[in-house]
């Protein structure tokens, strides 16, 4: 099966209310903010968000009333600390949180991607994440008799991933640190790829070692330049640090968040209009060009 290349609004329209979505998988790198904002504009609700740490995107989706559950290790604003909409929603009980460590969420998705029911780990032992959880199982390793924690598989309905370039068929190149993109893509039933650039398939085939996602895993491909702003994308643009600080200053109450969202989410129709709001210079001024790689026969 090949993916469909389509517009962001058509691709996001495939995601139903109540879906579970793994996203923000490369941690602070290449976060699919454009797709997240489109979920808000389409009024999605009842989503369960899955991820390792979430640098702001989960906070924004919670602020926009799209979320009923979070399965993650950390949610907030890496520049400023607190994500106020996440904090308030968890304190009020409007969003249910399932606490993980980074490794436990990685292993849960890895188990999903491998088609096994769980994976064992030596992490979590002695932590209240384990003590207070109904999810994990502590047992004795049958081979060593040591205590071991079993992390059950997570299979999200969707993974949303932002990449540098993809072919129209859905094969994607990604470079820079990848966090838990691989296990999440493998575990998810559907994958939405947003790409800085949709390129000729020959570009992708010229460097198969750089392929992070193959077409059989992908439902939709969307060309979406600047689609990860304010997060950075290796080789494309820097992190917009000031955006994160401004967000922290402007979203400590619901009313303030709504005013912020009217400007940055609901007040723009698409990513081109959005890009016009960004005044700061984020382009790469000191590029590193990788040594040429040869394949051939």
């Amino acid at each position: 099966m090949s993916a469909r290349t389509e517009s962001l609004d058509d691709a996001v329209a495939r995601i139903d209310d109540g879906s579970s979505i793994a996203t923000g998988l490369a941690l602070e790198h290449a976060i699919p903010f454009a797709a997240g904002h489109e979920l808000l504009r389409q009024g999605r609700s009842g989503l369960t968000l899955i991820g390792p740490i979430s640098d702001l995107l989960f906070d924004q989706l919670i602020g926009g009333n799209a979320v009923s559950g979070v399965r993650a290790a950390w949610a907030g604003n890496v520049s400023a600390g607190t994500g106020y909409r996440f904090r308030k929603a968890v304190e009020d009980g409007t969003v249910e949180i399932e606490d993980h460590s980074n490794f436990s969420i990685a292993l849960a998705l890895q188990a999903g991607s491998m088609g096994v029911p769980y994976l064992p780990t030596k992490s979590l032992l002695g932590s209240d994440i384990l003590e207070h959880s109904d999810l994990f199982v502590t047992t004795t390793d049958p081979f060593t008799d040591e205590r071991i924690v079993l992390v059950p598989a997570i299979e999200p309905d969707w993974a949303i991933v932002h990449v540098q370039r993809a072919s129209p068929d859905g094969d994607a190149h990604f470079w820079g640190n990848s966090g838990i993109i691989d296990p999440a893509v493998g575990a998810a039933e559907n994958v939405l790829v947003t790409a800085e650039e949709v390129v000729d398939p020959e570009v992708i085939k010229s460097d198969p070692s750089r392929v992070a996602i193959t077409r059989d895993q992908v439902t939709s491909v969307v060309e979406c330049p600047f689609g990860a702003h304010p997060s950075p994308v290796a080789g494309r643009y820097n992190r917009d640090n000031e955006y994160f600080l401004e967000y922290a200053r402007r979203t400590d109450t619901r009313e303030a968040f709504e005013e912020w969202a009217d400007e940055w989410v609901y007040g723009v129709d698409d990513r081109e209009e959005y890009a016009a709001l960004v005044e700061r210079e984020l382009s790469i001024t000191d590029p590193t060009v990788a040594a040429e790689v040869e394949y051939g026969q």
Binding site: E28, E91, S101, N102, D128, N177, I181
Partner: protein
Amino acid sequence: MGSESYTDRELMVTAAASEIEDGDTAFVGMRLPLIAFQVAVSTHAPNAMAVYESGVVRDAPAEGFIHTMCDLPNLNRAVATTDMIDIMSRLQRGEVDVGFLGGAEIDRYGNLNTTWVEAGDRDIRLTGSGGACDIACMADRTVLLMPHEPRRFAEEVTYATSPGYATDGSGRGNHPAPGGGPSALVTSKAAFGFDDAGELYLRSVHPGVEVADVTDDFPWQLNTAEDVGAGSVTTTPEPTPEELELVRTFDPDGFWT
């Protein structure tokens, strides 16, 4: 105070950097450790390596200021940009010598809370573990960094996100976590160690701070180095001019420090 003035956080960075030994693999997270690793590898620990849970591996400072481990200067000319399962597997195999952790609350056995705190009649939700629990469980040793505020020192933490030592004084002997546990705490007033029972003790006070200024802030009778037979309480070394210059190179606007 030395001839050149410096901030509390600049001293915390250089004190944290001194906890990285040459040749260490250091697990670096958010905030001050981002600067501390760069200072260490530029001074006494040129053969140290940093691993970051996002998948970054580095052997040198970033050539540019970083807010996060994934800022492009931290990816540029890295040793490797790999993934989390790779980095966490190194940690689980026991290959990480030292990891850095912060917390909203700490108890006398180095258990850290970054999940929930109680403030009066209100429960406040914090950001959560991130990779901190994994580091606390599995690194050979951990170095803890936090602002020196009495409300952060608790007989019992509300929620032990990142385990330290057993609260019965048995250290990590019968503790289920495989790593070595915390070796130091650095606050904005003092530096602390952990004794054989895993209990926190005062190791050094920062210049200008009295021992009583520190011990009075704890809700339990805090041991000092004398009490545990670890010599006497010393004064934390001030940042050297070279270290200060490096801190200000890596954090030119003082955002973190």
